[in-house]
Amino acid sequence: MMEQTPPSATGLTALEKVIAFVDERVGLKTIQAKMLNEPVPGGSRWAYVFGSILLFIFIMQAVTGILLMFYYVPTADHAFASTQYIIHEVDYGWFLLSYHFWGSTAMVVCVFAHMSQVFLWGAYKSPRELIWLVGLALFGLVMGFGFTGYLLPWDQRAYWATTVGVEIMDKTPVIGDFMARFLKGGATPGQMTLSRFFVIHVMILPAGLMGLAGLHIFLFRAAGPAGPFRGTPEEIKAKTDYFFPRQIWKDIVGMVTVFLTICALAFWEPVVLLEEATPDPGDYHPEPEWYFLFLFQLLRLKMFGGEFGQFVGAMALPGAFMALLAALPFIDRDPERNIFKRPIALIGWIMVMAMILLFTIAAIINREFLD
């Protein structure tokens, strides 16, 4: 009877047998080949690591977020005390919370870097318009994560950042008032606000992000990587390589670097709470999270004073900018991808980055002035 055993199964280890069993049923090797043997035109590059890093940061945020939820109580009475408990009583709780806090900052930075890379490489152009649009939606979700997560510790900073944010949202025509009332759940931020922000932060946004990230990756694999924007066909062909192992190695090094950076930031500046949230700001000057600071400072300018000015600064300008970004692949139909041959795109990018940097630093100086 021994002669009837297939020769391929005789010399296999237990692990190989398990893999063969799964492969026979789900086509594991086909999936593996599909995922790893993707050709990367012009070879692997460090500039391509941001997408993978973002996925890694999201997974780490989910893991640390779940661990924090074991102790956090999302009620106005206990949110502050439970966060204090995490910081002071739970073993390594300070590190978990600080990692989660700095992880959100890293996510915003990497989203900016990823979008900049795609923009500068001209990778939003045909046939990759849908990838760009889904990416923009993901950018909105990441900002939503930052906004909703900021309230959860329920200290003065959290309370007032949310108040400022919701007031900005209130300026939106037609839906602004409804959105603000829906998020606050009352006249002032309270238990209803905390509950709603918590549910959005841990249920709605993660579900949305997982769905859209899956779609983003699917669309990316369908269109294929754009490759470098310059180089002769001979050079690109000579350097073209598969996704595995070189790009995967670069992605792993990028992930490790980001992980170490977040850990180092958690050590440098661990999360410290202010006083428990009250409707009286006292000496505290309300301001939003750092990535909204530029917008906050913009609204301090006299030209954006008054109801109409606030609407223009808070909603019309950012809305028009986002609409322009969404329409970009359909407006810019020139197949040229080299950023040095697209002066308007290059100057536009530099201007936007300089403006964000300038207004963010101005907001920090303004904070010192107020203090």
């Binding site: 002071h88 000579a238 170490l260 050590f267 440098w268 661990p270 300018l301 300038l358 630093i361 100086i365």
Partner: protein, 333 residues
Amino acid sequence: MTERESTSPLKLGLNVLWSACWTGFPIKLAIALLFLALGMMHFEARIGLAFLMYLASPVTVFAMPILSMAFEPHLGEGFGIALLFLLCIPIDIWAMGVVSRTVFLEKLRLEPPDGLALSLWIKTALAGAVYMPILWFVVGFVTENSIAMSHALFETDLLKAVPVAEKIGIELTLWGSVSLGVLLVMLLIGVTLVGRVIKSAAQSAQPTGQSYQDIITRWDLMRVPADQGLMLTAVTLVGVVLSLLFWAGLPVSTPHPHECCKKPEVKAQPPYKPVDALNKNEKAITVLAAQVESLEKMKTEEEAAKEKEKDKGKAVKAKPADAKAPVKAPATP
């Protein structure tokens, strides 16, 4: 003109320095994190400066002690800071070797000479030691003066009425543009200097004489270890050891608490009993009602007493007037 001759020193310097700084960075970062976990160093508010100094350690390694003595840029506390700079040396030499060999092969199509990594690192670090203090002084001087000038500009009568937010924005744009411009020019000069050092090393190198595909394969394989299994095992082991050290050193509670984050005393709330609370509140209301009643009674009594005193006072005041009346009466016809 060959590519070797046409590549500008600026481009060459940028190619090597940018890549060399980032190549060694993850390893330096892992060591820095370990030192932080073990409490061997603490960074202060200038984390951005500390990051740049460690990132650019191929040029700042000798410059940092000079800067500390001459201009006192304080990165933080602990002997780990100096130790980290020392550990950066072998890492930077390795990174400089990998990057410069690649640039020699791919960009210049030259055979990298022996000992290229060490000789380039020494020259770059020495150039940095001389140039960085000059850069620091010039940029610091320009920034300080441009800040003072932009402040003075807004002190004039013409611009005194400018609102605060606009004033901050315009001042920042003015002095920021000037100091950023000077910083960029100084950085470009510095990178060009490094490029000249690399170009001088390239003068004696021989052309490779290989096809482009062969050159690419060669520099690509330079990064692939001969024994991949051994390399993976070694990397994994080092990773495990570093992780264990990290977890052993990681403080259980916040590592450097200061006045702002002292542990507050949180008292546990007693369990809530609605009936007891109602009874207690009823009692409190009864007591308070009785107090209010007695207060009102006291007030009424006081008012009554005051009224009485007033009446008495009036009576007392009225008596002398009545007594005077007969006096005032005409005595004579």
